[in-house]
């Protein structure tokens, strides 16, 4: 029975797992600064972080929080990553467009162009954590818990994956909106099964955090 082992949330400068006694928090005004502040607070040492665009940083930081001190035993070839968002890589697309095209001082930006695809964050997570299995990036108005739950469960059921990272990673208008869940095929301890209902409560919890209507 597939189970959601744990979930991390990252929005409005906060980075935490539900029930954390000491969540990370940054009150910097821009996400460029928030993300760097959180990186330092977490005492991370991964110089590729500074090359990442803000969407990738949001995914990266949330995954760091989620998987910190967690021992993963599954075969990396059978660990998947399944992410969705609404804005694709539009934040970076617009940055690229403004710097490279729509300006008198157009400058070539090869490194920035690489980040103008939403699945690059799956690549960054794959490199960081060594996950080499099934993957997919979906674009939707909001997280589609029915589809993701059914699709991912069927991959477990057909033995294509033994564990996975799944979630919603959106970044646009300087707002990070992320949840990432770690799912295993046979966890003994977790309370939640991977079902549309449980994913929906995770989604709703994130939306409430983002709206500021939940006491953390």
């Amino acid at each position: 029975m597939t189970k959601i082992v744990k979930t991390a949330y990252h929005t409005t400068g906060a980075l935490h797992i539900k029930g954390d006694k000491n969540p990370f928090f940054s009150k910097e005004i821009t996400y460029t600064d928030r993300s760097k502040d959180l990186y330092k607070q977490m005492n991370l040492s991964y110089s590729k972080f500074y090359k990442m665009d803000l969407l990738c940083r949001a995914a990266f930081l949330c995954a760091e929080k989620l998987l910190r001190d967690y021992e993963i035993v599954e075969d990396p070839n059978k660990i998947g990553i399944f992410l969705a968002n609404h804005s694709s890589s539009l934040h970076t697309d617009e940055q690229y467009y403004n710097k490279s095209i729509d300006t008198i001082n157009a400058q070539r930006q090869p490194a920035l162009f690489v980040y103008t695809l939403p699945n690059i964050m799956l690549g960054e997570l794959s490199i960081r954590h060594g996950f080499k299995g099934e993957q997919c990036m979906w674009i939707d108005s909001e997280f589609n818990e029915e589809f993701v739950s059914n699709y991912v469960n069927s991959l477990f059921g057909t033995n294509k994956i033994d564990a996975c990272l799944l979630g919603w990673v959106d970044f646009y208008d300087d707002k990070e909106n992320v949840f990432l869940s770690w799912v295993e095929g046979s966890a003994a301890k977790a309370e939640e099964h991977l079902t549309p209902k449980n994913l929906k409560s995770i989604k709703n919890y994130l939306n409430n955090l983002a709206d500021g209507s939940t006491n953390k």
């Binding site: 095209i101 729509d102 162009f113 108005s141």
Partner: protein, 377 residues
């Protein structure tokens, strides 16, 4: 597995408005690549671009009332063509759209393009909803944006959805258009060739870009062409975000997982990703060599249509299984001299040949790889 049928397909490119037209042109060795000039970038480029006049003629046939972007018009033409025999009930909840694209309406970032009401369509889900609503489909469309493997992932996803009995019919549509955005980016990466691309050739210098739309309809309830989809796998190299792993291990594994029940000897034709960059072709030929597929006839179709990004996996798959139905091997344009350390059997002239099983591969930015096989039923 064997009850999934391909019941319709369509390809739109500068080489034609149907699968048949495109296949025939490819068999004859005709290419859609031509010299073009991008005003915004002041850049000469060799790309495969559908003429705006031809689009306008087709659109007027379809009586499109609402305002659509150029790319949306092409997508609608393709879906309508594929669905024209009322082949399935598009309004049924047992039917769903799976869209595959890398950049969608990215040309909308240019404020002088299109009216304000269309600007929301730069969000891929908005574009997808507008199109699926046009056909009054009640389901939320699935939109895959996974770099250059998107189209192949779309077909693999559709296969899985039907196998899991989630839907009875899935319409997969892969699409992308040439834009100043993508021309600029690939040029900045020194990946854009200034001449027609030469996959696997020793003088290859990079890619060309192309406009295209491909539609494939998979069904569980209707009988279609005598082709089975076999395997289907997606992997990641976990090595670099824009270059493939030198060992080709991700591609190797994707092919390995797809060849479940198939040996190298069973495969009669390989439709490679073959973008004509130094790295891709080197990596892909290594992965194929490691699977003992170096002697299997292989091509890249990038010399016909350019690299059509989100459409590539779909249109190239269509030609790949049509090759089985027609027993015809299509040449690999732009190839003269072996240019990879692991040599492949690149098809240099189109010919008739008995084909029963084919392999399609793809890889993309972000280190992703995908593979799928087709077999005669």
């Amino acid at each position: 597995m064997s009850h999934i049928s391909i019941i319709a397909d369509n390809i739109i490119s500068p080489l034609g408005w149907s699968t048949e037209e495109n296949f025939n042109q490819l068999y004859l060795g005709r290419s859609g690549l031509d010299n073009h000039y991008d005003d915004t970038l002041a850049l000469d480029h060799v790309s495969s671009i559908i003429s705006d006049e031809a689009i306008q003629i087709r659109i007027s046939d379809l009586v499109i009332k609402q305002s659509y972007t150029r790319l949306e018009q092409l997508v609608i033409c393709s879906i309508s063509e594929a669905c024209k025999e009322d082949i399935i009930d598009l309004t049924s909840s047992d039917t769903i759209f799976v869209f595959a694209t890398t950049k969608g309406n990215i040309s909308l970032l240019d404020p002088s393009q299109n009216e304000d009401i269309l600007r929301e369509r730069r969000f891929l889900n908005v574009m997808a909803e507008v199109i699926s609503r046009r056909y009054r489909n009640p389901n939320r469309p699935i939109v895959i944006s996974n770099a250059c493997i998107s189209g192949l992932v779309g077909i693999i996803t559709a296969k899985r959805l039907i196998e899991a009995e989630a839907y009875k019919n899935v319409i997969v549509v892969g699409f992308d258009e040439v834009s100043s955005f993508t021309l600029s980016g690939f040029s900045a990466l020194h990946a854009l060739s200034s001449e027609p691309c030469k996959p696997f050739d020793i003088t290859r210098k990079g890619i060309n870009l192309g406009d295209a739309v491909g539609t494939v309809i998979l069904s569980k309830e209707k009988k279609g062409i005598p082709i089975d989809l076999v395997g289907g796998a997606i992997t990641n190299d976990a090595n670099h975000i824009s270059g493939p792993s030198r060992t080709g291990e991700g591609m190797y594994r994707a092919i390995d997982l797809t060849m479940d029940g198939i040996t190298a000897k069973d495969i009669d034709f390989i439709s490679t990703h073959g973008t004509a960059t130094m790295y891709n072709d080197e990596m892909e030929s290594k992965a194929l060599h490691d699977h003992r597929l170096s002697d299997t006839p292989a091509n890249s179709m990038k010399g016909f249509w350019g690299h059509t990004l989100g459409a590539a996996g779909v249109i190239e798959s269509i030609i790949t299984y049509q090759s089985i139905l027609k027993n015809k091997l299509i040449l690999s344009p732009g190839f003269t001299t072996q240019g990879t350390e692991n040599k492949l059997n690149i098809i240099t002239a189109s010919r008739e040949e008995k084909i029963e099983c084919t392999l399609k591969t793809a890889s993309g930015f972000g280190g992703c790889n995908a593979a799928l096989a087709f077999k005669s039923k």
